[in-house]
Symmetry: C2
């Protein structure tokens, strides 16, 4: 497929759809591909362009090249759950009048993940508005042994947010009320379906911000963020959700509402149950509301992009940044030179500095612009003076900042243009961080279109992406399990921030001990004895099943 | 008892002991009281003065006024555990040669908490050095149904760190090895028995610091800190241990070693099991090693003590500090005027500023001294100019900083001089924070010697202390359950950072729902089916028992 120069207008997308509808069969394949990329792009990067849900669904439904059913591709056996009958639908209609969707056309987008690598065959979408409704739904499903797939913004990358078979999709999209914002303590309380970017906009008015930031912020929901323990760009500064989430309200498999929605910064009364729902991908309960500690919005932001000659100097720059930028350092991102080649060829973006083997993006966020600028200048003088960094530019106005950030933020989108993407999200000790990329490049050789590495260096989190024109089983066998074995050897994590979902659940043993996995399964059995919550996800199939 | 002007020399304490030993019976009571206060003081505040463990134990054993046995005072029924026999002791001697203590004199200090309000009657102290030894001990205890009480520095305030009956005390004191420090990523890995202050000293050499700071830092151990989810003075800046602890190794009740000792900042592979051990007070497993993310040591520290006319202005000062000091704000502490009266009369300390109804202590910690000073000056100009604050002084050199901090840090010690202390550790929404103090003062009226309030205002954490010359049951009945009901009404926490331990376990329902407590009990039953780990603690007695 030819490179596609995004962003594009919604008008362009409409034209594509018109061509398809008018029967231009020769164009079908190309246009369908465009449509797929557009739909993905719009969903993740420009959700405001999607002026109506129906339009989005229409675009999706026109994509004739639906991905293979997950259950078929991976030869999964359906769990022993009941199948939905008309009586069930009638009950749900009573519980959620007008918010039970059974139209297969409408369900297409909810059954398919945004990478279009996983597809389920759910026939029912439920859209509750309140915790009580979720509780009633779960009570009924539990009594009937019906499997349920909780879904937020469906922006997950490991197949955790779509069904595998006919699980009922319980969407939190209509649970989007902000309950309260306490300006002094910085506490936000809201329903699980609030979109991350919308929360950030709301907080901005009172001088606060969300403690996390993701590429998918325009679509992802806070309940999903918590369920996947989302990391992202600000984690280095504001820490993980295990620290910043103050409270969670969740509905358990049997409909029990577990109210741990504390707004207190400190509360040592018993086991911290809310932690169980952070990162458990909807397998222990459905997060319905959250309370989260929000930092103050910075008064000044600066962004530098620096060119570096070798990886060791990237680490030196990180060490200097931690020391000299200290409390104002808010992001330290890393890209290798194939990243720049990628956005140049697939998105027509330009490199704001001269070409170098490595690049780091350093963001500062502080309460005093003059102080921040001085700190950043002192840092730059040092790293340039000592040859740690060879070239660089600093952005202080928001347009230039956004233009530099977009190089980093649009890498995932640019990769899709190559065709098929093998995505890996690895944590590694910094000393071994880039060795994996070198080894992988040598290993896959010319089977791959590219091997591209970027990530959150400040957190030891590598995003390693390998592309090929289409899905290539030989290439996959070159990559896996090699990459997991390599990661395990250096005591890394095979999923730093994306979670295990469906696609990585069977690799959990590369990062966790057998005893740990057994305890996880015991906790799952305790909290969801029938296994109806997001089945086929996160934990490997039970031994002996 | 007359006020005692601490700190004193070890020589003074030796004199007291000599007087006692030489038979000065008329002096006995006074000297024993002094000895008790000294021993507590030295253990908690000046552990370096305790030159030998034997000396400390001698001091303790001479305290004739042992507190009443917890089991008697609270009329507790012993659990259905086996009793230790000589064969058990022989097994432990084989597992831990020379590290099995059965001498009742030596056990006194381990059986009694430092507030001297709880006392158990354990006859056996085990001092393992390795995780494998802890595992072997637990395997044996599990097979024999012997109850075990894990103990770190024994600095807990709720009776959670001493036995109630004859539980075996498993001390982590000899597990004090630092495994590794990674300077670039800021990761420390160490055994559970490392003392907090020793860790901080060790980290200081490579420009790092521990992310938590407590009054008990000279004695408390990191394993205990994690087991109680300790908060302290730096939480506002560096967050809770749920965020900064990267990994935990723990031994379960049956001796299973659960290795979750990751050093990775991000690892989303399965349920985050380590969270279960943070704040569960040794009831789910014995923490044997930890991995923790350590921030960089600041280049500059400033401390201001400010006098404020009313509580609303304390909140205004907090809001301004968050905005203007932003990322360099590292502590915002609060004291009311009875605090200054207390340290003045009981410790002979002086108020460095003029007397005011309220005081706030504001600490900044940053990477650039000139910037920090400028930010602090701008803040002070504003709060003084607008009348939010009426008086104040700033310390920049370490001696003056320590002298101001000591007013705040020695409040707990000063309270002991009044006689008996009713200690409460409450989280409240800031809007209602001080109302509880006013209501309590009115309620207890002249039954109490003092009602003193201080705490971590930046975290909404109030330490409310009521004193009387001796234990007074009528006074207790004025305070409880009133204080818990009041806290519950405003959705506060009845234990912000001290935990529930033995003394508060039956009040858990004031802060947690019935459903939540039931789930906690289910998790306890899953992970410790015989209930041998730190019994009688944290969770209320089982229904129907």
């Amino acid at each position: 497929m030819a490179p596609l120069h995004l962003p594009v207008s919604i008008g362009h997308l409409r034209q594509c759809l018109t061509l398809l509808n008018s029967g231009h069969r020769c164009l079908h394949r190309t246009v369908a591909s465009y449509t797929r990329v557009y739909a993905n792009y719009l969903t993740v990067c420009q959700p405001s362009l999607l002026q109506s849900r129906r339009f989005c669904l229409q675009a999706r439904s026109l994509q004739k090249e639906e991905p293979e059913l997950t259950s078929v591709r991976y030869n999964v056996q359906r769990g022993n759950f009941a199948r939905i009958n008309s009586e069930d639908v009638a009950v749900f209609e009573r519980l959620l009048p007008g918010r039970v969707i059974a139209d297969p056309e409408e369900l297409v987008g909810y059954n398919t993940d945004w990478l279009r690598m996983c597809r389920g065959s759910s026939r029912l979408l439920l859209r509750p508005k309140t915790t009580e409704e979720v509780s009633e739904v779960m009570k009924y499903c539990y009594s009937r042994n019906l499997a349920v797939m909780p879904q937020g913004g469906n922006t997950g990358l490991v197949g955790g947010s779509v069904p595998v078979f006919d699980e009922i999709i319980l969407s939190t999209s209509l649970m989007n009320k902000i309950v309260s914002v306490d300006e002094i303590s910085g506490t936000l309380v809201c329903q699980a379906g609030c979109v991350l970017e919308a929360l950030n906009t709301h907080l901005s008015d009172v001088g606060l911000m969300m403690p996390l930031d993701l590429g998918a912020k325009g679509s992802c929901q806070i309940g999903g963020n918590i369920s996947t323990n989302a990391g992202g760009l600000r984690l280095m500064r504001y820490g993980s959700l295990h620290g910043s989430v103050l409270g969670v309200e969740a509905v358990q498999a049997d409909g029990t509402v577990l109210d741990c929605l504390s707004t207190l910064r400190k509360d040592n009364t018993g086991y911290d149950l809310k932690q169980l729902f952070i990162g458990s991908e909807g397998t222990l309960g459905i997060v319905t509301a959250v309370s989260i500690l929000c930092p103050r919005k910075p008064q000044s932001i600066n962004l530098a992009i620096l060119g570096v000659s070798d990886f060791q100097n990237c680490l030196k720059a990180l060490k200097e940044a931690r020391g000299m930028l200290g409390e104002i350092l808010s992001a330290f991102e890393f890209m290798d030179s194939p990243c720049i080649d990628l956005v140049r060829s697939n998105l027509n973006l330009t490199n704001p500095i001269s070409d170098k083997p490595f690049y780091v993006l350093i963001e500062t966020a502080g309460s005093n612009g003059a102080h921040d600028e001085e700190k950043l200048n002192l840092f730059l003088e040092k790293v340039l003076g000592e040859g740690i960094v060879e070239d660089g530019t600093v952005a202080t106005d928001s347009t230039k900042i956004q233009s530099i950030w977009s190089i980093r933020e649009r890498l995932a989108e640019a990769l899709l243009h190559d065709g098929y993407v093998y995505k890996y999200d690895i944590s590694l000790p910094l000393a071994n961080f880039y060795d994996l990329v070198i080894d992988m490049r040598e290993r896959v050789d010319d089977l791959a279109t590219r091997v591209v590495a970027y990530g959150h260096l400040g957190d030891g989190n590598l995003h390693l992406n390998i592309t090929s024109p289409t899905y290539d089983h030989d290439l996959l066998e070159k990559i896996e399990p090699f990459i997991y074995e390599w990661t395990s050897r250096y005591k890394g994590s095979i999923s730093a921030e994306h979670g295990l979902g469906f696609k990585k659940k069977d690799f959990i043993h590369f990062s966790k001990t057998q005893k740990a996995v057994e305890l996880m399964q015991q906790i799952k059995d305790l909290m969801d004895p029938k296994g109806i919550l997001n089945p086929y996800k996160m934990l490997p199939d039970k031994y002996g099943d």
